[in-house]
Structure formats: C-alpha cells, structure tokens
C-alpha cells in the first residue's frame, strides 16, 4: 500500500530560505529582561522533556532524572516541574513509577529510534509495549529512507499506523531535520506527519548533527500555523537536541509567540527536548534572584 492519500496532498509551497533565516535572525535580537525573562525561563522549564537516551542509561540514572524533572530545584517551590521525562522503551516502567502522582508525564522513543530502520511490525509492537508499560507520549521517528527516495505515501501510512497503535498516548513525530537536508523537505515532512495524525512534530533525535536549529523550528511552526488556519486543528512542535543555553530557549519562545501566537506558549503545544538546558535555565533563574552569576557544580547533573 503506497499512499492511501493522493500524492498531491503532500505538495508544499517552496521555502524562501533567505527570508526564513533573516526572520529567524531578526527575532533573535529581541531583548528579554527581568520579570519577562524569569517568566520565560519558568515557562521553558514547564515545557521541557527532560531526556536521557544513552546506551549506558541505568534504572538509577532514570530515577535520578525523574526526581530532577519533578523538582528541578528542590529548595525553590516557585520553579515548576518539567513537562515529561523522555527515555528508551525498556526504562518506561521505571520512569512511570518514579514520576507517579507528580503530573510529570513519561515519553518513550519508539519505532527503532534513532534510525527507524526496522520493519513495520517491529515498530508497531515496540509502540504497543511502551504504551502498555506506562508511556503517555510516544516519540516516533519517520522512515527517512522512504522519505528521501520519494515514497511519501509509505511515510504517511507509517505515521497513521503508529498513531493507531498509540491509542490514547500522544504521538510526537520526529522528522530528523538534520537528515532531510533542505527546508522544502522539512516543510513536506511536517505536512505528511500532520496529515498522518501527529499531535506534535519534533525536529530531531539529538543523535544527528545538526539537531534543532532555529530556522528549522520556525519553518515547522509556520507549517503548524498554516495547518491551523486551514483546518482549525492545533498541532504542537517540539524542538529537540542542541539547545543548551537559557538564552537560546528564550529565542525559541519568541519564535513560537511571533509565529503561532500565545495559544502555543504552553507545554501542551510546545516542548523542548533537552538534558543540559535545564541546569543553564536554573542557573539563570538563580542569577536573577541573587544577582550573582552561578557555578555549574552547585547544580545536580541529573
């Protein structure tokens, strides 16, 4: 079955790369200070999917990460919890136990993350098992092999199938924009994922460089906005990988607000996938509170 949707549905207008990058650079110059900065940084924490996706992950490491997601800075109750923790499927059960009752959700990568090079049945089974183990969000990767060889219908069908396998769990579709090479491809992949039923479209796995870049995020936000204007249906965006500084996070929030509007400025519609970003945000918040630049070793590493 190659495409239960007409191939014309996947056509997208070409991207003006120069204008896209110029607008991104322009929006990056906005200065956000004092109260607005504190609000923005707290929002960034509330939008964060605290992530560990390493071969050496252990149950202990995941429990520690969960604790950090629930109470990023235990002494300061005004700092919100993260939105979710993001782990490999075999650690979902441990994460679910660790965050139980806290409001922090468990996201699991699936479908042969990060390359996506397994067959359809294995992918669907992996999704089912992750959901059964307690994942309320699934981060799938698209089949870049199929996409780059022009088999858009196959990519669309796979997103549809995974969406069905997710049941009530939210589906985030990872485009891995670093492998898509062109902005036009990013826009087309975004459209395919949205049509396939994605609740979120996500930039990257974090395993390929470049990971999330601001022009790509802006482009995905524009695609989401266009879809909303066309159909009235909201889709979320997750920027993942390579976002390490608080300043960078604020720049992403500016892109969200300027492109999609305030409605998207919530963990329900925008997420950061990150691990080291959290500490930099915490350090900036403490800097705002105490007036002193902080030292990294005063903050827990996981």
């Amino acid at each position: 079955m190659s495409g239960s949707l007409s191939p014309t549905e996947f056509r997208v207008p070409p991207v003006d790369a120069v204008a896209l990058e110029a607008r991104t650079a322009d929006l990056a110059t906005r200065s956000i200070k004092k109260d607005a900065k504190v609000q923005g940084l707290k929002l960034a924490i509330a939008m964060m999917d605290l992530t560990t996706l390493e071969g050496m992950d252990s149950p202990g490491k995941v429990r520690q990460l969960c604790q950090k997601a629930v109470a990023p800075l235990p002494a300061r109750t005004d700092i919100p919890s993260c939105a979710a923790v993001c782990v490999y499927p075999d650690l979902v059960k441990i994460a679910a136990q660790a965050v139980a009752g806290s409001g922090v959700r468990v996201a699991s990568v699936a479908t042969g993350f990060p390359s996506g090079r397994t067959d359809r049945r294995t992918k669907l089974r992996e999704v089912e098992l992750a959901v059964r183990a307690g994942a309320s969000e699934i981060d799938m990767v698209i089949d870049r092999g199929a996409f780059l060889s022009g088999r858009y219908g196959a990519v669309y069908d796979e997103v549809c199938a995974v969406k069905e396998a997710c049941g009530d769990a939210h589906l985030k579709v990872i485009l891995e924009t670093g492998e898509l090479k062109t902005y036009d491809n990013v826009r087309r992949a975004s459209r395919i994922a949205i049509l396939g039923g994605a609740d979120f479209i996500k930039t990257s796995t974090g395993k390929v460089s470049p990971a999330s870049t601001r022009p790509v995020a802006l482009l995905m936000l524009e695609t989401v906005r266009d879809h909303y204007l066309e159909t009235g249906k909201m889709v979320g965006v997750k920027a993942a990988g390579g976002i390490r500084s608080a300043k960078d996070a604020l720049r992403y929030l500016v892109l969200v607000a300027e492109t999609c509007g305030d409605a998207w400025l919530s963990p329900e519609w925008f997420r950061f996938g990150a691990s080291s970003l959290l500490n930099d945000v915490l350090m900036q918040l403490e800097k705002q509170r105490t007036g002193r630049y902080q030292r990294g070793t005063d903050f827990s590493t996981d």
Binding site: G291, R292, Y293, Q294, R295, G296, D298
Partner: protein, 282 residues
C-alpha cells in the same frame, strides 16, 4: 610608502580577540586618540566560561609541556621586542624604562617556565606516618582564578600575577592595567602565538571600579588575586562562594625588582594539597 594602521585594543577571551559585547570603548589618560575595549560584566561572564573550559585543558597537560609553553611566551616576547616596547611607551614609559620592563618580563617568564616541572616536587611531599603506608601530599590547581593587575607596571604587573597561577595549573581571567592597558592586551597576542590553550588565560580591559566587585561576586571564580591594599568590600562579596582572596600590595620599587617577584611563595596560595595513603607492599 608606509600606511599607518590605527589599532583598536580588544579583549582576549577563549583564544579570540573580541570587542566588548557592550560595544563600549574608553580612551586611557594621555592617549585620547586610542580606543580600548571597555569590558563589561557580561564580558567577564563569557571570559569565566572560557576559563572553565580552558582549565580542563591546561591543568590536564603535563607539567613539562606547561614549562615548554611558558618558555615559548618568553621567546615570543623577545621576538616581538620592538612591538612590545612600543606598547609600553604608549603607556607613558621612556624608551629606556620600556626596554627595562620588557627585560624584566622576559626574565620573569623564563624563571617560571623552569619552575613548571619542579613545583610538584617542591610543594608536594612524602610524609612520615605511623604504620605500613606510603603517604604523599601532591598539589592540584585551585581552579579559575581572577586577577586584578596593578596599573603600573603594565606588563610585569600582569605577568607577575599570572605566571605563578599558570605554574600551579590554574586558568586565569585577568583585568589588565586600567591606565595603560596596551601592553597587557598585547600580551594576549603573545599568548595566542605561544600555544597557550584557548581559555587558559583571558585578558579584559576596562574600569577597575566597575569590574572588581563583579569578579568578587561571580560564583564560578575559585580564587581572586588583587593588586593593591586589602579591600573589605571585595573580601565580603567573595565570601559568598568561599573564594580564596589574596591582596598583593607592592611598592613601585618592589615591582621593578625581578628577584622579588619570582618565588615559590607566589604559586603556593593558589594550589590545593591532596594527601594520598597507599599500603606498603609486603
């Protein structure tokens, strides 16, 4: 025909020569036609970030290599003699005084280069203990050290504070002379050509009144070496993260005596002693 090139004096941070992020410049007294980058609090923050990275590289390199690199600093100072003398004269020195200060700077650098691979033996020890154990004390760098260099001498003042810290394996963020920042900043060009790893030494110029307290407040600085008389305000601000603070109050006569400036006692305040126990093999 020679073309005169007007130089803008820039900071030296992370191995690069940026202007101040604030865009500000100042004109040191007597040199109203020369623009020098006026470093800000955020330049200091960036420099400390660079120094934190540079610390790993510098303290991780072998003492012998550190000695070689320090020796190369002396080589570079010597091969740029005319240029450095020019910078010193811009700071108000007579030709003879500038030559003398550069000689002192080179002598000082050579001495500390030689000390690099000996400091461990001189400051460490094997200790007598009760029981069948070897007991060693060894030294480790304190970390990222902030330096507030004296206004005079512009070059030797910066080097005399900087070199012992480098011998100890520390990385440094230094505020050079406010009155005559030229030679201090030109030192950055020498360091960049000497294989000093990026970030191991960072040089800022600006107003001491504005920046000294920011050095003291920043929690990611591990120690502070300040020229001039003890300053209770700085000490108090530095207490927040228990920074080690030393004041170095020398007369101008003392600053011009190289013998006075080269001593193991300049290295000692900014190293930490670690003691190890090891069982004696039967």
């Amino acid at each position: 025909m020679s073309v005169s090139v007007r130089k803008t004096y820039k900071l030296y941070v992370g191995g690069k020569f940026p202007r101040s992020e604030s865009g500000r410049v100042f004109q040191p007294a007597g040199n109203e036609a020369v623009n020098v980058a006026r470093g800000s609090r955020k330049d200091l923050r960036d420099a400390i970030g660079a120094a934190r990275k540079g610390l790993a590289t510098w303290s991780g390199s072998a003492a012998y290599l550190r000695g070689q690199i320090l020796y190369r600093i002396a080589e570079m100072l010597a091969s740029r003699r005319d240029g450095m003398v020019q910078e010193l004269r811009l700071g108000g020195l007579t030709p003879a005084a500038a030559q003398k200060e550069l000689d002192n700077a080179i002598a000082l650098t050579i001495w500390y280069a030689g000390l690099c691979d000996k400091a461990l033996s001189l400051l460490g020890s094997q200790n007598a203990v009760q029981g069948p154990f070897f007991n060693f004390s060894t030294i480790e760098p304190t970390g990222v050290i902030g330096v507030i260099a004296p206004d005079k001498p512009a070059l030797v003042g910066t080097l005399a504070l900087l070199l012992p810290l480098l011998v100890g394996g520390n990385s440094v963020v230094a505020l050079v002379s406010s009155h005559a920042p030229f030679a201090g900043l030109a030192l950055g060009e020498v360091l960049a050509a000497s294989d000093v790893p990026a970030g191991a030494v960072n040089l800022l110029s600006g107003h001491r009144d504005e920046l000294a307290k920011e050095f003291a407040k920043h929690r990611d600085i591990d120690g502070l070496l300040v020229s001039g008389p003890p300053d209770a305000e700085l000490t108090e601000a530095a207490a927040d993260n228990v920074k080690r603070v030393r004041f170095c109050n020398l007369s101008s006569a003392a600053w011009s005596k190289v013998e006075r400036l080269r001593s193991l006692s300049w290295v000692e305040p900014f190293v930490e002693t670690k003691t190890l126990w090891h069982p004696v093999a039967p």
